[in-house]
């Protein structure tokens, strides 16, 4: 009796797992295969393998979409904001965790509440403020919001992690005459490498894929990032299937590569990042 139910459950479980697998693999397979067809062939042959494989979609999509620019911008935004988030979170987290101050509960609390704030909540005021400050259509105007968005999780994770480092290490360094910034650089930062890695990975995936902010805060083509460039193909160029699909493959690859390299750190980061507000 129990054996029967467990077999039934097993069938059910495998069918759920296989549905997920199919939904992940088939679209990607279809996309990659179709991106090697000409648009003319795609019109008549939508499911099968290409009768004649062609690579011409890729260089054309790359050129039309200006992917060189888009990649450069995406890298600048991602690396710039991630470096700043990690640096600022480590230093503020260190102060919150190891220097006693009456300001800490309020300041730290203001960051933790921010975990629940979404881009939507600040998008329009940010747009108006950027206009007023003359920061629209500048890289700084895009980088600053990205840094601010990464801070809540960054502060939370870093403060918790640095709290777990024994106080005696900081105290003995103080007795040896080291200043706090020196202690941060020579003792805390090296010990906090795991949390810094987690934070960096969370931030890289978040900023690389972010779309709404950069879409609103810049109208200049030369400042746009990858997701916006890809979206252009589904708008103005949507009947040019070959190039549209090639653009999607180009947009998908960086994160797939990032995932295969940092698989374990990413999964660790996601579970650590699931913090309560």
């Amino acid at each position: 009796m129990r054996r029967e139910t467990s077999r039934l459950t097993r069938v059910l479980l495998y069918s759920i797992l296989l549905t997920f697998t199919f939904m992940t693999l088939y679209p990607v397979f279809w996309l990659i295969v179709s991106s090697f067809k000409t648009t003319q062939e795609f019109q008549v042959n939508r499911l099968g393998l290409p009768r004649r494989w062609t690579c011409q979609n890729y260089p054309l999509a790359w050129k039309i979409g200006g992917f060189g620019h888009l990649f450069t911008n995406s890298i600048i935004y991602t690396v710039g904001s991630t470096a700043a988030v990690v640096l600022l979170s480590l230093s503020a987290g260190f102060a919150f965790a190891k220097i006693r101050s009456r300001a800490t509960p309020f300041l730290h609390g203001s960051f933790v509440i921010g975990i629940l704030l979404s881009v939507e909540a600040v998008l329009i005021p940010l747009f108006l403020m950027a206009n007023a400050a003359g920061l629209t259509d500048t890289r700084l105007g895009i980088l600053l919001p990205y840094i601010g968005m990464g801070m809540p999780k960054g502060i939370y994770l870093c403060t918790e992690y640095i709290k777990s480092i024994p106080d005696s290490l900081v105290e003995s360094a103080r007795i040896d005459g080291a200043s706090y910034p020196k202690i941060l650089a020579s003792i805390i930062a090296p010990m906090a490498k795991p949390v810094a890695t987690t934070l960096a990975i969370l931030n890289v995936t978040g900023v690389w894929n972010e779309f709404m902010l950069v879409n609103v805060l810049t109208s200049k083509t030369s400042l746009k990032s990858l997701p916006i460039g890809i979206l252009k193909f589904s708008g103005a160029l949507s009947s040019d299937y070959g190039k549209q699909l090639a653009a999607l493959v180009v947009g998908m690859l960086p994160m797939l590569i990032f995932y295969t390299i940092f698989r374990n750190q990413i999964t660790k980061g996601v579970s650590a990042g699931a913090v309560k507000g």
Binding site: E120, P125, V216, M255, S271
Partner: protein, 328 residues
């Protein structure tokens, strides 16, 4: 080396006895001053950036939602900004697109809380208890969609379900008379979106639950099974209570995430047909950036989004306390 060790050992209590009182006082106050200065130095940059681009705009948005501000300088004598009370909120509540957006957001929240989380939990349990094979492979397959850019996922699935996509082709092979009106019929346009949302984000909860299940000692379950508990009873009575905190946290993340489903819908349907697949964030975006800008209305919508997510989270906390109370 030895001297250093001794200093570490004395760190907390030793110094006071060694240094004479007067020297110690001046030293301490100097150290105190340096400590304060270091605190300000270390905290300031983070606070400045965060308050400027997150905390202040959040309050600014509430303020603007009570005015008729519509672009241009905030303080001008030509066209002064007027306080209009709650009229932007009244306008929002009367707008038919508000209720359409709210309804669609409700569907997304339901799919997240009652779809993604239970599925993520069950699959995490199954994988961590080694009830199926190829666990690493399945974990990757479920998780990888969350890593790919939402825009790419949105366009890709829009292509899959579109009249020129494989879904249509396959349906035509089964039934040549079938016509693909998925995205043109307002009644069905949300279905592909919800399917994709379920598929895309279950992986996040799978990972969160997996990490927390791995912290539970497997012997707890083994002992229960030796005592005659079935797998299901062990899950229900041992694992589920242990993870209730994680489940609540996941639900909070799911709710605030559901209200942020802008990019996927923007790429998949852009709110069409006739804005029937709009969600609150897209509704806000349209109010501010499509056609004549109405920043007052847009800020009222964004304030509503924040208030709604805080209210839902408070409700969740309330339910958690009630249920938690009953268990004890």
């Amino acid at each position: 080396m030895k001297a250093g060790d001794a200093a570490v050992g004395q760190g907390r209590s030793g110094t006071a006895e060694i240094s004479p009182g007067s020297v110690r006082r001046t030293k301490m106050s100097g150290a105190r001053r340096e400590e304060r200065w270091a605190y300000v130095l270390l905290v300031m940059p983070a606070v400045l950036v965060y308050w400027a681009v997150m905390a202040f705009p959040a309050f600014f948005s509430v303020g603007l939602s009570l005015t008729n501000y519509n672009g241009g300088p905030l303080w001008s004598s030509m066209n002064p900004v007027k306080f209009v009370g709650l009229s932007n909120y009244v306008k929002m509540l009367r707008d038919p697109f508000f209720s359409i957006s709210l309804k669609n957001n409700t569907y997304i929240i339901l799919v997240s809380v009652f779809g993604q989380i239970p599925l993520g939990f069950i699959l995490a349990y199954v994988l961590s208890r080694r009830l199926v094979g190829m666990r690493d492979f399945f974990q990757g397959m479920i998780y990888v969609p969350t890593v790919i850019s939402t825009i790419v996922v949105g366009i890709l699935w829009q292509s899959i379900f579109s009249p020129y996509g494989p879904f249509t082709e396959i349906m035509h092979k089964l039934n040549p008379a079938w016509e693909n009106t998925l995205f043109t019929n307002p009644r069905t346009a949300m279905i592909p979106v919800l399917v994709v949302i379920l598929w895309m984000y279950t992986g996040t909860y799978l990972i969160v639950f997996l990490a927390n299940l791995q912290k539970i000692d497997p012997e707890v379950i083994e002992a229960a099974k030796i005592d005659g508990a079935t797998e299901w009873r062990a899950l229900r009575h041992i694992i589920l209570p242990m993870l209730s905190g994680v489940i609540v946290t996941s639900a909070i993340l799911a709710i605030s995430g559901s209200l942020q489903s802008f990019s996927l819908i923007f790429a998949m349907t852009a709110g069409n047909p006739a804005r029937r697949t709009s969600v609150l964030s897209l509704y806000m975006y349209d109010a501010a950036f499509r056609g004549a800008p109405d920043y007052g209305l847009a800020n009222a919508i964004s304030t509503f989004i924040v208030a709604l997510s805080l209210a839902l989270i408070a409700l969740l906390k309330f339910v958690e306390n009630r249920v938690g109370g009953r268990e004890e």
